[in-house]
Symmetry: C2
Subunit: 331 residues, 2 copies
């Protein structure tokens, strides 16, 4: 029988968040490390802009942590673009062993778990970089933003942002204690404008497996945070957890609900995208854990792994949620 939960015990040494204009104007705006006024980051195309966000995020991470790319054993990276080219081009100029990932919006915690496993397996330093870009994602998955298509109330707003993380074994930093990799779950949701509903059952599955395997309860954590279920999916997850007798209550929150002002910024069901959980983890949760304001949290990035073509072919949306348990230093 397999271990559902991996004991990892590594440290999140440093992180960087890079965001676009809308994100910098949101409630967390002042917390992000870097922002851009036109979301192009000096690129000719939105796609170049997304790659530049990744390059900026990782470059700043190296500067911030005072190490060079040749000190890092491996880089785990991914994004939402077809063939993950946002990462391939963005990180091209670094001299680094590269593992390309595709976990849709779950890529941030997928990368954190794989980087931690690499450290347990003997590596010294590993990097994780993920990103998403609103204009790139809307054009690829739905329709170009220039069309001004009306959005459904359950639709989410893909975050323009990139997060970069450096993981190692040094003490005194936020600890990544355990990981619980997600399973692919598909519950029949076919609506591209309601990914929260497609992803909520995946978050449920991972949380229930984690609590069963560890004997922990939601009360053991200061926060239980999902990546981008948004308002729709977040409410569904809370209903499902309550129905399973494991209510999350007030300790539940979601990065997609935190990153925008729902009233002032017209984002409907909240934020989404690989960049969403990455920048909120980096800018909002890691500092609270480092300072001890939060002592222990569960953090799950959630991903909807369909493609536009699979939806046209009548397939439902498969989803996944990877969980990491994070702890304040010296607990």
């Amino acid at each position: 029988m397999r271990k559902e939960v991996l004991e990892l015990n590594v440290s999140l040494l440093s992180s960087v968040s890079v965001v676009g204009k809308k994100e910098s104007e949101g409630p967390l705006g002042s917390l992000f490390d870097l922002r851009d006024e036109d979301d192009r980051f000096g690129g000719k195309t939105w796609e170049e802009g997304e790659s530049e966000m990744q390059r900026l995020a990782f470059n700043t991470l190296l500067a911030k942590s005072g190490c060079e790319d040749r000190d890092i054993d491996a880089l785990f990276a991914g994004d939402l673009q077809n063939q993950c080219v946002g990462s391939a081009y963005g990180l091209l100029n670094f001299d680094l062993p590269y593992f390309g990932l595709y976990g849709a919006c779950s890529t941030c915690t997928e990368g954190l778990i794989l980087a931690s496993m690499a450290l347990v397996g003997g590596c010294e330093l590993c990097g994780v970089v993920t990103s998403s870009h609103n204009c790139v994602a809307e054009r690829q998955y739905r329709s170009p933003i220039e069309y001004g298509s009306q959005r459904a109330p359950t639709a989410q707003w893909t975050v323009t942002g990139a997060g970069a993380f450096l993981l190692g074994k040094e003490e005194g930093k936020v600890r990544l204690v355990r990981g619980c990799p997600g399973r692919v779950i598909e519950m029949g949701i076919c609506d591209l404008s309601n990914m929260g509903a497609a992803m909520a059952p995946a978050a449920l599955d991972t949380l229930l497996r984690f609590f069963k395997a560890t004997g922990k309860r939601p009360e053991d954590y200061d926060r239980i945070v999902t990546g981008d279920l948004g308002f729709e999916g977040g409410a569904i997850l809370q209903d499902l957890m309550r129905a399973d007798g494991v209510p999350l209550g007030r300790r539940y929150s979601d990065c997609g609900q935190l990153i925008y002002d729902r009233v002032l910024q017209d984002v409907h069901a909240g934020g989404s995208g690989c960049g969403c959980s990455a920048v909120v983890l980096s800018a909002y949760y890691l500092p609270k854990l480092q300072s001890g304001e939060l002592r222990r949290i569960l953090f799950l990035s959630t991903g909807a792994m369909m493609s536009p073509d699979s939806i046209k072919q009548g397939k439902a949306i498969p989803a996944i949620a990877h969980l990491v348990e994070l702890e304040a230093p010296n607990l």
Copy 2:
């Protein structure tokens, strides 16, 4: 300073290859485990066919190795479809922690390295599944096969095939001794019909780093095998290695050159795709290693990580090559 080469020392316990009609008619045809006469594998679409290949490959792997999905700690999978949906749908029905990968045609060895690192990090059994499908890839990257577009002499033929591998620690099986993860290399090649030229420099980079780090020479290996450089890229790699004073000579071979009969099957520069190196490794090289006919080989899957859109936007093709060193049992 990082270790360029990872000491892994795990075993390839079992593997399965599933191929389409053209592959089953090639020189290795009789060696593959499963084949289909119309490349749809009972699916309504080519995409469903590819997912079914993955399901068949992994299901057969479980049967062959006498274990159940709940015995396996994690599954590493990927393919060439947008958002890697071939794997997401194909492996949906297995009860398994799932790590989605995107390494283009390098995904096979990317998965083998990550699965091995997971084993070193404490897992007991890990699976790797990768696939490609000719009709799916041609429609997505170039043009639907129904158009009958003329192909360039340097163009390769995407293999319809899926390979599945089970890795563990048990002795007496083919050993995966070391891994050398690739770096993203881009040398200015923009021609979608000449991916061999784009990928050869990535294979060169990985091989040179591996030989430098280990002090080994090509003469130390019975074979040095690339995944899908084909005839064009394979010749370029041999020229480049010779120019660097490390000629590969007759011990060099390429899965894309082996899988089809170049004269009788009209595949121009040879086979390619995530499935190419996976099925040739499973059906051709692993048995030769298991029997001791080959004692020690270097195996590199090579990937071209562009997207059709990045090419339209004038970007060159980034490539990567992940290397594993494989050894006969009890050496």
